[in-house]
């Protein structure tokens, strides 16, 4: 029997969840929980601000957030992200404090809500959070009402990584461009390869880059790349054949296999390497001009060879470098977005 009275597809419920992918956080304008919080205008502002801050005299820069308080709350280990957020905040003059799960009351069973409220009571004006559970930044923001920067949540997102990856790509593919539009990356194909399923870097990149006109090809074996990934957003395709993916791409982004999140998944590493390891020979044969990227930490000899990591096409350390500038922009924006005062 056909459904006559009930509307298919649309139930205009109240209060309706916003369906637009891009919308700022409802609690704090300076929060970045997902790349979905950022319009292309906001991305452009962040890119411009990153460049401005990078060029600025360090002593002048350190006056921008002098003595303001930023908390780094890290429930997972991190080298690059933590250090660069810390350097970024300190470079702007802010006082930072690091709370990590192994040296705090988190060990005693304190909840994320209570830890967040405690940090706020100690004067934190923004919290940078890394957490093993997808969506944890939403909880922290809802409960503390502070600006929250997502420094990686579970298998969900890592927006600052996607922004620094974008800045790295633009520096090579669109030098000088900071104002991005829906066409900025037209004609550019990015192959994200490896453990897509567990990767927050992959999700942030696949949701951000197509909005600038890029094509994103996801590549990996079915255990690490479910077919539904192609439906995560527009402009995303799945390609199982690494060579075919390489041959189409101007950027090759390799990902680490996240052993800590495999949850019983069996993976034959030799088979994986045979199918998806990035080698000098593959690069030379199929993507001799492509930019080789990796969010780190890399596992040499697994997802890519040491020669590729150290080779001329590798931008891995450049990515790390761009991270500080992007994170300065994000921290500054987090503490000033409400006042709407981010000027030169």
């Amino acid at each position: 029997m056909p459904l006559k009275n009930a509307p298919s597809r649309v139930v205009p419920l109240d209060p309706a969840p916003a369906t637009a992918l891009e919308r700022p956080s409802p609690y704090s304008a300076g929060s970045v929980l997902s790349v979905g919080n950022l319009t292309l205008e906001a991305v452009s502002e962040i890119l411009a601000l990153a460049s401005l801050l990078e060029r600025e005299d360090p002593l002048e820069r350190a006056k921008r957030l002098a003595k303001r308080r930023v908390a780094l709350l890290f429930y997972e280990s991190s080298t690059r992200t933590r250090t660069s957020f810390e350097l970024a905040a300190k470079g702007l003059g802010a006082d930072t404090t690091l709370v990590s799960s192994l040296s705090s009351s988190i060990e005693k069973g304190e909840t994320l809500k209570d830890t967040g409220l405690t940090l706020r009571a100690l004067g934190a004006e923004a919290i940078i959070l890394r957490h093993p559970s997808s969506g944890a930044p939403w909880l922290l923001e809802r409960e503390t009402l502070l600006p929250v920067l997502n420094a990686g949540d579970g298998m969900h997102e890592h927006p600052s990584q996607a922004l620094l990856d974008l800045r790295t790509m633009l520096a090579h593919l669109r030098p000088g461009i900071e104002t991005v539009t829906a066409k900025t990356l037209e004609g550019i194909t990015i192959a994200i390869t490896g453990d897509i399923l567990h990767s927050r870097v992959a999700r942030s990149n696949m949701l951000l880059l197509p909005r600038l006109g890029a094509r994103v090809i996801l590549c990996g074996p079915p255990q690490l790349l479910p077919e539904i990934a192609a439906q995560a957003g527009p402009g995303i395709e799945v390609e199982r054949d690494f060579v075919r993916a390489l041959a189409q791409s101007q950027v090759v982004m390799m990902l680490r296999i996240q052993a800590e999140r495999l949850a019983g998944l069996q993976l034959d590493l030799e088979e994986y390497k045979a199918g998806y390891q990035l080698t000098e020979a593959l690069l030379a044969a199929h993507a001799p001009k492509a930019l080789a990227m990796h969010p780190g930490p890399i596992v040499r000899g697994l997802e890519l060879t040491g020669e590729v990591a150290d080779g001329p096409q590798s931008l891995i350390l450049e990515q790390v470098h761009h991270g500080v500038a992007i994170r300065m922009a994000l921290v500054l924006r987090a503490l000033t977005a409400s006042a709407d005062e981010v000027s030169a």
């Binding site: 459904l3 209060p15 969840p17 957490h131 559970s133 997808s134 939403w138 579970g154 439906q231 995560a232």
Partner: protein, 441 residues
Amino acid sequence: MSTILVRGGHLIDPAAGVDALKDVVLKDGRVVDIAAPGRAKVDPDAEIIDAKGLTVAPGLVDIHVHLREPGQGHKETIATGTAAAAAGGFTSVAAMPNTVPTNDSPEITRWMQAPERGASVRVFPIGAATRALKGEVLNDYAALKAAGVVAVTDDGNPILKDSIMREVLINATRNGLSVIQHAEDTRMTGGCSMNAGPTAFRLGLRGMPPEAEYGLVERDIRLVAEISREVSGHKVAHLHVAHTSTAQAVAAVRQARRNGLRVTCEVAPHHFLLTEEHVRDYNTHAKMNPPLRSVADRDAMIQGILDGVVDAIATDHAPHASHEKEVEFERAPNGITGLESALGLSLRWLHHEWKMPLGRVLSLLSAQPAALLGLKGRGTLAVGSFADVVIFDPKAEWVFQAKDSRSKSKNTPFDGWTMQGKVRWTIREGRVVYKANMAQS
């Protein structure tokens, strides 16, 4: 006990085929007269309820609630849960056995029904199908039934093993009890916190595949067909599928019925209204089990309700304390409250928006669930029935506020939603157990 005359209301009693202006007389806990307006003979000292402009219907029956007692009084007590039920127009609720300890025994079954619990509405305990809900060892169904259970289930957990489910069905049927299955193949749902699909992928959450539900429903239906040939005589096995959420599960129930099997199902308001998209901000009030599904599944629930495959609307009222829900999405417990929003949502959406006749909506909330669990004298206001009545203003629109809920817990995704149909009086066995404070509205 005094007499109550409900005067001048529009009586809708689908089971009795009544849909007209009637006076209803309640005495000694029973319905004693249904008469044309002004024609009822009553004692001069009868309490009179003026129901002019209001709908009078059989008290609602929710066959799926978690009252949390014994053992989890910080979430809900039988007193608070049934107070919420009364405010929502319910006069009977069937209480799930996943309490602490689980309701494995006649002692707990009796304890739940004892007057000391302070229940506003009638509580029908459902017994644990297997000891401690582990799906291994069957409880004593004859003893449970004698103590008052109306069905058996391991709700919260499935009865996974074929051999055990078979034994449960056979034993329950011999004892005249329905078997309620929480259909979730937990071998496919470990570590999962929402529906599987593109949304779960995008949100970085592990997803429960729809197969985990409908695969078990299909397995159970096969078992019902098999044992129907084995259990002799006039006893017919009855399988009831709890909180149905997938299109394929509804299709399997539809097919089983065509094949002459006694298989029924219920749908919760959140499964005919919400979808997995509501998880997008990791709101833990959008986390329940079964999870919110796809748009196609949600539409299949609506269709199943409209075309009659769905036998009942049941809330799966699952209170949790605020601190339990204010945690990371993956760590939050499953479930939402539902007793005070079920009627308002059903009337607003099924009746008002989707034009389902009012009598049919009320039937899904009273006559059909009562019949499904064999609750005699409930779900109808025919003379001689229990004096269980809900009187509501069918046209009133109001906004549901979680903070005003009578439930001990406020974990509802419907906070701030517009409802239709305001309950004015709830009468259980001839006693007013809820009366709206009209000064507020």
